[in-house]
């Protein structure tokens, strides 16, 4: 059985690609054969975040249009044995993603025995974003503690509930998960930032995890290594916890409480 996970948000810049890369890598690290697909035709970036930008020969649209086969287009990840990246096309029009074409590629991945297919959605609510969520079994809605992101997440949830195949065919609905990213416990504690519970109350979907705001994310993307590989950082640990919860394990939330720095920390400026 293949599970299709769509990582989506409506709003741009909230961490969809970072999350797709880390969730896909995390699943692969746990032994699942995983593919991660960039649906952002025209503005591909997953290849950069995964560090495989120089190995792109064929892309998603090439496979849809029959110019290459899936085997030629899938790029094997450097860090995980059973992880493959399918990059988006940089030059084609986004309408090249036809529903039949996307379905054909997903079916073929299923035949090849993939356990998970992670679909990295583009921002917005237009064709590419709708294509990314059409075939979803589960959706990870990435949300920042910020008004426009929360509102857009609510919009995208409405679209999942009306335009996904599962909704249209009246099957069991897409399983929705909330992932709060760029969270600052300090600012939330001081009442300057929506708390993760505020966001969960507003969106009313189960919380998969809270990823703290961190310098490690930029360091990871600079090097083209998914953030989950930044061992020992709160971001990597928070993604690991989220993957565990996704797979049904129980993990207490970490990195969400603000601890006042002690006197020594304040004097000597420890991090």
């Amino acid at each position: 059985m293949t599970t299709i996970i769509t990582v989506t948000s409506g709003k741009g810049g909230v961490g969809k690609t970072t999350t797709s890369a880390s969730i896909a890598s995390g699943l692969a690290l746990r032994g699942f054969k995983t593919a991660v697909i960039d649906f952002d035709v025209g503005l591909r970036n997953l290849d950069l975040i995964m560090g495989c930008e120089r190995r792109v020969v064929y892309d998603f649209v090439n496979v849809i249009q029959g110019d290459a086969n899936l085997h030629q287009a899938l790029i094997k990840d450097k860090h995980c044995d059973n992880l493959f990246v399918l990059p988006a096309s940089q030059t084609r029009d986004k309408d090249a993603l036809t529903e039949e074409g996307v379905e054909k590629v997903l079916k073929e991945l299923e035949h090849q025995g993939f356990d998970y297919i992670v679909c990295d959605s583009p921002a917005g609510i237009e064709h590419g974003a709708v294509m990314a969520l059409t075939f979803a079994d589960e959706a990870i809605v990435v949300t920042n503690p910020e008004v426009s992101s929360v509102r857009d997440s609510d919009r995208i949830l409405g679209i999942i509930q009306s335009k996904s195949r599962r909704a249209i065919e009246g099957r069991e609905p897409v399983k929705e998960h909330l992932l709060v990213t760029r969270y600052s416990p300090k600012r939330a504690h001081e009442g300057e930032m929506l708390t993760y519970t505020d966001i969960q109350e507003l969106l009313r979907i189960p919380l998969l995890g809270v990823i703290p705001e961190s310098e490690a994310v930029l360091q990871a993307s600079n090097q083209g290594i998914p953030a989950i590989h930044q061992k020992g950082t709160p971001v990597a640990d928070a993604y690991q916890d989220a993957i565990g919860r996704f797979l049904g394990e129980e993990h207490p939330l970490r990195f969400v409480e603000y601890e006042k720095p002690g006197l020594i920390k304040r004097l000597f400026g420890g991090k």
Binding site: E146, V147, V150, R151, D154, R155, G158, A188, E190, G191, E192, M193, L194, T195, D198, L202
Partner: protein, 84 residues
């Protein structure tokens, strides 16, 4: 801002404002989005049928779906032109 807060860099707790605003706008947008897609079509058809019998302004026909407890109420409001 008082000079004290200028010195101590006091920040406003604005998250509660954000939450209240979001509660309102999300509830409003959900109510709009949950309406079925056929309402505009139905309105168009009604205008076509009714204008066979007397002239009517498309804006004077309002179609809405409301939830009242367990019931959904389809409300059609037609304002007849004056002078009839």
């Amino acid at each position: 801002m008082s000079w004290l807060s200028l010195i101590f860099g006091e920040k406003k707790a604005t998250a509660s404002v954000a939450k209240e605003r979001l509660q309102l706008i999300i509830a409003h947008e959900r109510a709009c989005a949950s309406g079925p897609d056929f309402l505009p079509e139905l309105q168009k058809d009604l205008v076509a049928v009714i204008s066979k019998y007397f002239p009517v302004n498309p804006d004077d026909i309002k179609v809405g779906l409301e939830k009242q407890g367990n019931y959904e109420v389809l409300e059609v409001n037609i304002v007849l032109p004056e002078g009839r």
